[in-house]
């Protein structure tokens, strides 16, 4: 039985891995096919151009470039932090982004599942409220907080606090707000609670749960265990939305993470950083899917035997 599990996992690994490689290939092809020469943005001096082109491996054959992209040899940044190795920049930025992503994931998983498991869906305006994009939520939060604090200061209730405007807010508060904005603005909180509610209703109607009820046996733990593969699937589907929201979030909250780095690199056309960020983003999505596949394989025995 364990060997069936392992072979099923390897099959998923290969499929997902192939998708990642294909995505990187397409990205590189597009980069090379783009109009104009990337180096022209930096300089037009012929000797300097030749030296830069050589040092940045711009003319390496495609397979080698794909291998480099996937293995993390991304060269050095051109304009965002000139001369610094891209891998270092990404690692530094990850220290800010990973807690944000994990926090947002936990906020969607736990409160989202609890909200979805309530029997009576009394939050009816929910779909309309949940469509606020990340930047608008962040904007609303900043304005709201600032206006309220300003009004309180004007009324004499409080003295002007040290952290008056949001970008200067101390870390813990800012992180919490950022996590909340990301979880809601990316649509994940709504998607999770909706998904959990739907799947839970289906499971409650299933023959197995009906049989347990008819025998007077408890169903709550069985229901949650039936839900785990569904939660894994939901997580994988929504991971991409989370990463996308991160880009806007980090700019709005002025946080030095992967999203902000990527955006900066896009604005300044810093090709190595853009490429590396693209690869990391795709790897993140594929990795989340693979992780979800693993959880589902481990918890739903029916998946191990299917073709």
């Amino acid at each position: 039985m364990t060997s069936r599990l392992v072979s099923a996992f390897i099959a998923h690994l290969l499929t997902r891995g192939a998708a990642l490689v294909a995505a990187v290939v397409v990205l590189l092809v597009l980069l090379r096919a783009a109009p104009g020469d990337a180096v022209d943005l930096i300089t037009t001096d012929p000797t300097l151009r030749a030296r830069l082109a050589a040092s940045w491996h711009l003319d390496a054959p495609l397979p080698i470039a794909v291998g480099q992209a996937l293995s993390g040899s991304w060269g050095t940044s051109w304009t965002v932090r000139p001369g610094r190795p891209v891998a270092d920049l990404l690692t530094e930025a990850a220290r800010t982004s990973i807690p944000l992503l994990l926090g947002a994931f936990l906020v969607t998983l736990v409160p989202g599942s609890l909200l979805g498991s309530r029997r009576r869906r009394t939050i009816r305006p929910w779909p309309r409220a949940s469509v606020v994009p990340v930047f608008l939520l962040g904007w609303g939060l900043i304005i709201g907080l600032n206006e309220l604090t300003f009004a309180a200061i004007q009324a004499g209730h409080i003295a002007r606090p040290a952290w008056f405007s949001l970008p200067d807010t101390p870390s813990a508060v800012r992180y919490t707000l950022a996590v909340a904005v990301l979880a809601v603005g990316s649509g994940n909180l709504h998607a999770f609670s909706d998904g959990v509610a739907t799947r839970l209703a289906e499971h409650r109607q299933s023959a197995a749960i009906q049989a347990l009820t008819a025998r007077g046996m408890p169903t709550r733990f069985v229901l949650w265990r039936l839900l785990i593969p569904d939660l894994a699937l939901l997580t994988a589907e929504r991971a991409a939305f989370l990463f996308g929201g991160l880009v806007v979030l980090e700019r709005v909250f002025a946080m030095p993470g992967l999203g902000g780095l990527f955006f900066e690199a896009c604005v300044q056309r810093d090709q190595p950083v853009v490429l590396a960020s693209g690869v990391v983003a795709a790897a993140g999505v594929v990795g989340a899917r693979l992780l979800a596949d693993s959880v589902r394989l481990a918890t739903d025995p029916r998946l191990r035997d299917a073709p």
Binding site: A208, Q210, L212, R215, M217, P218, P301, D305
Partner: protein, 256 residues
């Protein structure tokens, strides 16, 4: 230790349509009673009503289920304020329902072992692996340890049904209610399953067998109740059907 399960004047309605009307039946310990009728006669619904699983409104509008126990007060389930509590006491301990689609009714993510153990634990009985294996042996599995390790989706139809019987017995219920247990099984498998049920009956559990296959059950049943369009049209020992004039009974016998 004789238990008695009595259903009196069951009335089931779906909206304004009456599906079951005035049905009475009794099962005692050590009896195998068959509830027979054509498809749509209302027999599955009657079985569901016994454990309070009628899925539509208004459902059971009248009718009392009484479980008479030798050394404890009676449990009575009737429409009214105390219905939920009485049902909770009846389900699993008084009547264990064995559903029609046996494999689908098993928890797909748990092994047979885990499910048997859960049933034993719910009944407050010892639930070591040896005890779980013993439960499976009691329903006729020759190799219980292999079956314990299986997941429901790898079981055959007949095996799944036996596991369901084992789960019902593990709960220690006084009565088993099997809903169409022989559908989808080959003839020899059907016969063996019925022998197992008869053996369980001999050990003292009361069994209500819901089926449309008259000939199959003739050998082992003590009494039959024939349902047609939601009403009882005949009841008694198997011989009562042989020359019964009612057209529904004739159809069951195989006559046009």
């Amino acid at each position: 230790m004789t238990h008695r399960l009595t259903l009196h004047n069951l009335h089931i309605q779906a909206g304004t349509r009456t599906l079951v009307q005035g049905v009475d039946l009794t099962v005692a310990s050590g009896e195998l009673v068959a509830l027979i009728g054509a498809s749509g006669a209302g027999k599955s619904l009657t079985g569901r009503a016994l454990v309070g699983m009628v899925p539509f409104e208004p459902g059971v509008v009248d009718g009392t289920v009484t479980w008479t126990r030798p050394d404890a007060p009676d449990i009575t389930v009737s429409p009214g304020p105390h219905r939920t509590r009485a049902l909770a006491q009846l389900r699993g301990k008084g009547v264990a329902w064995i559903p029609q689609d046996a494999r689908a009714a098993l928890v797909p993510v748990d092994t047979v072992h885990r499910q048997v153990r859960a049933a034993l634990r719910h009944a407050g009985r010892p639930h070591t692996p040896a005890h779980c294996a013993a439960e499976l042996s009691a329903v006729g599995f020759a190799d219980p340890t292999t079956v314990l390790r299986q997941y429901p989706h790898t079981l055959s139809g007949g095996m799944a049904r036996r596991v369901q019987v084992a789960l019902a017995l593990a709960l220690g219920a006084a009565f088993l209610m099997a809903d169409e247990p022989t559908t989808g099984l080959d003839r020899p498998v059907q016969a063996r399953l019925l022998q197992t049920l008869a053996a369980i009956r001999d050990r003292g559990t009361g069994i209500l067998l819901i089926t449309h296959d008259l000939h199959l059950v003739r050998r082992h049943t003590d009494r039959l109740i024939v349902l047609d369009q939601g009403k009882v049209v005949a009841s008694g020992p198997p011989s009562v059907l042989d020359h019964h004039p009612h057209p529904a009974v004739a159809r069951l016998r195989g006559e046009p």
